[in-house]
């Protein structure tokens, strides 16, 4: 394990500051369930901290955390309790919450509105995808992880990752580009 990773994992508050938002975004947009994302991210950080001795440094810390988060999502989704409550109430992330905090110094209000509309189009396209497709799309294009890192985080083969990615891009292209 690298020295920097060791230091990073030893300080859970620093780890929380560095990765919590990214993990929350990844889980929220992979599952489409905000409440689940909050729970999973909290559990993920604690699990990573408690099991930091097992981190071998073969991948980045974020890739390792994404792997843990993915396993936790699957664990939660296996439980009957989760399946029941998921049918009762599902609180997806809402991009309209961002209307008041978009950066205003770099672009005009019209540009900001267009940017939000485009982002919502992508979000809408992701809703129609499977969870694996969404998850891999978010890893690659939102978290900007390399394909090899995605393979490590998900445990999938490269060909499977590429297939999911291709289907996700096709859906986004259809929604945003207007032609597929």
């Amino acid at each position: 394990m690298g020295e920097s990773a060791l230091t990073e994992l030893d300080d859970i508050e620093a780890m929380d500051r560095a990765y919590r938002a990214r993990l929350l975004r990844y889980v929220a947009y992979s599952t489409g369930d905000m409440d689940l994302a909050e729970t999973v991210v909290q559990d993920c950080l604690l699990k990573a901290y408690n099991g930091r001795e097992t981190f071998r440094g073969e991948c980045s810390v974020y890739t390792w955390l994404a792997h843990i988060a993915g396993n936790l999502v699957r664990d939660h989704q296996r439980t009957r309790k989760f399946q029941f409550w998921r049918k009762v109430q599902k609180t997806g992330p809402d991009l309209s919450e961002l209307s008041g905090i978009l950066p205003s110094g770099e672009s005009s209000p019209e540009t900001q509105i267009l940017a939000r509309e485009r982002a919502q189009q992508v979000s809408g396209a992701l809703e129609g995808l499977s969870e694996n497709q969404r998850s891999i799309f978010v890893m690659r294009f939102v978290d900007e992880m390399e394909l090899q890192e995605i393979c490590q985080a998900t445990g999938m083969r490269m060909s499977t990752v590429k297939t999911h990615l291709h289907r996700a891009v096709k859906a986004v292209r259809l929604k945003v580009g207007g032609r597929a």
Partner: protein, 198 residues
């Protein structure tokens, strides 16, 4: 070969396929794809629009997540094992004090209550004997008084007992009596009970 032909056709007139579009977004667009983009304004514009939308999505979702985290600061609590409380010295000190207190109280109560208990038991037994004696004495006196009654009373009692004895014997069923035989001899073979006075 087919893939190469597809790419060539795409660069000549067709638009980018989904596979080519994905490769382009991944930053690994091969030379024919790049060449097509130079020639085809529609594909170029579409690629910029989709890529820009994904960038907007990434930026806004990150802002959304950061705001969410700021709005809900989470107190980080380290997960503890089931017996982690044993590691706290205060627990051991408190346990020792509680044990010492319990033992001290127990010893004190034993010393205070051992002797009086025996005394109380003896006193209670003596009282019970006195009470029983008081109850029995009148009965005995009455019996003694009755025993001192005269010969006439004894004679009457003997007659009553004889009659009762006779009635009891008459009720006894024997194989002979069932058939009406020797009934008389049974009835005549009665005894007289005699009581003597002390």
């Amino acid at each position: 070969m087919e893939s190469q032909r597809e790419r060539t056709e795409s660069s000549r007139g067709r638009h980018l396929t989904d596979e080519q579009f994905t490769e382009l977004l991944l930053g690994a667009g091969p030379a024919p794809v790049q060449a097509h983009l130079v020639e085809c304004a529609a594909c170029r514009e579409e690629a910029e629009r989709v890529s820009g939308a994904i960038g907007d999505f990434a930026q806004q979702t990150l802002l959304w997540a950061e705001r969410r985290v700021e709005a809900r600061p989470v107190r980080v609590v380290e997960r503890q094992t089931a017996f982690a409380w044993l590691l706290h010295p205060q627990i051991w000190v408190a346990g020792a004090l509680a044990t010492a207190l319990a033992v001290g109280i127990g010893m004190t109560m034993r010393r205070d209550h051992t002797q009086p208990v025996h005394q109380t038991m003896v006193t209670a037994q003596a009282d019970a004997v006195k009470t029983q004696t008081a109850k029995v004495q009148p009965v005995v006196a009455k019996a003694q008084a009755e025993a001192k009654t005269g010969p006439a009373t004894l004679k009457a009692d003997n007659a009553l007992l004889t009659a009762i004895d006779g009635e009891l014997r008459a009720d006894e069923s024997t194989p002979a009596s069932l058939y009406g035989l020797e009934a008389t001899s049974y009835r005549t073979n009665t005894k007289t009970v005699k009581r003597t006075t002390n």
